[in-house]
Amino acid sequence: MNYIPTREEIIADHDNVVYERTCLLTDNPLSYCPGCGHGTAHRLIMEVVEEMNLQADTIGVAPVGCSVLAYDFMNIDMQQAAHGRAPAVATGIKRLMPDKFVFTYQGDGDLAAIGTGETLHACNRGENITIFFVNNGIYGMTGGQMAPTTLPNMKTATSPYGRDVETMGYPLKITELIAMLPGTYFVSRQSVHTPANVRKAKKAIEKAIQYQKLNKGLCFVEIVSNCNSGWKMTPEQSNKWMEENMFPYYPLGDIKVPKEK
């Protein structure tokens, strides 16, 4: 009457874990729509913070946007900033707590519309902070309105007939702009919709955190992501659409890398 463990039991043993949700994500269910990239982005950042053993040294800043509740999910000390002001908030923190790892997590409306001034000047001052920028080309939280990064002719709640660049302006490549500033040190654009991209994105996040520890200036990681709700697609469709439409406009890869070896 020997009990013979099932195959599952043999394998799914704690010792055999090769991937598990990081303990720096809380148990609270994420408030995001199914398939939304915010969740993956959260996870990667927290994985790196965990792996670098930075929990006690990290102060995060949540924006106004779908990720407004990031503090419910990230098991670190966090501040919720007013819409667009996260880089200023992070500046206030970092200047007074220079030994902490300080990051903001911001959407494209937050960072590139209302927060343009704060973003540009934090970058220009070379604040030793890290900005994670989730660009989904839309205002997810408020119900899918046009963002500065919305693609030409893309339909949103406030461009129901498509973004007309003549009257509504052009998609703003803010990442390319801030990469031009001497205050930024490492600028990279990533995505998190395939396993390979997730791995690359995590690398970029790691670098951005490491460089902050060296006080090299501002590090900036953009993550091009879907907002399947706002785009009115299934998660899978939205990732496909993103590859076909967003990436040509927002090509992935490092935009500014440190010159010295």
Partner: protein, 184 residues
């Protein structure tokens, strides 16, 4: 006469538009109506609900804590709204996907297998009209003639060809509704 209704479920189930058709129909029948949706980030995660009030007098608050009727279309909504039915009120739900069924004994509980029926018909769009039929069976506030006017007003022109289908679904819903529990 004042009827205070909450309709709650998923985004995509047609919750808001069901409420809107109901409100529009009431308005066509010369009643005072109000329609108040959950809005903003509340809707993240796909939940949606709407409060509809149909009354003979001016409506005070469009936001309520207690309702005459709750129409409930998923578990999360059941958890949230079962308690907000007034004693003696009505709770209608689609049992599909419901794991914790209503337990209150001081209200009247009905079910409608609308999802199954919609699937059976191959017309997922009429799901909400089936549910609306169930409600109208139990609370025949709106006369069919105004129901049609409501449909006309609330559907965009290009969907007017679907009105007969919707009306049929409403009728079907009236047949499908089942009593689960009568209040003690």
């Amino acid at each position: 006469m004042t009827e205070e209704i909450i309709i709650a479920g998923f985004g995509g189930q047609g919750v808001l538009s069901m409420g809107k058709i109901l409100a529009y129909s009431g308005m066509m029948q010369n009643k005072e109506v109000s329609w108040f949706p959950s809005y903003g980030p509340e809707m993240r995660g796909g939940t949606a609900n709407v409060t509809v009030i149909i009354s003979d007098e001016r409506i005070s608050s469009p936001i309520l804590n207690k309702f005459d009727t709750a129409i409930i279309l998923n578990q999360q909504s059941m958890d949230k709204f079962e308690d907000s039915v007034k004693p003696g009120g009505v709770l209608i739900y689609d049992p599909n996907g419901i794991v914790r069924h209503p337990v209150r004994k001081d209200i009247n509980v009905y079910t409608i297998d609308a999802a199954d029926e919609a699937a059976r018909l191959g017309l997922s769009k009429v799901f909400n009209m089936l549910v609306l039929g169930a409600f109208l069976k139990l609370k025949p506030l709106i006369e069919p003639e105004y129901m049609r006017k409501g449909l006309e007003k609330s559907l965009p022109m290009r969907h007017h060809n679907l009105i007969p289908e919707n009306e049929k679904a409403i009728e079907r819903g009236k047949q499908l509704v089942k009593l689960e529990h009568l209040m003690n």
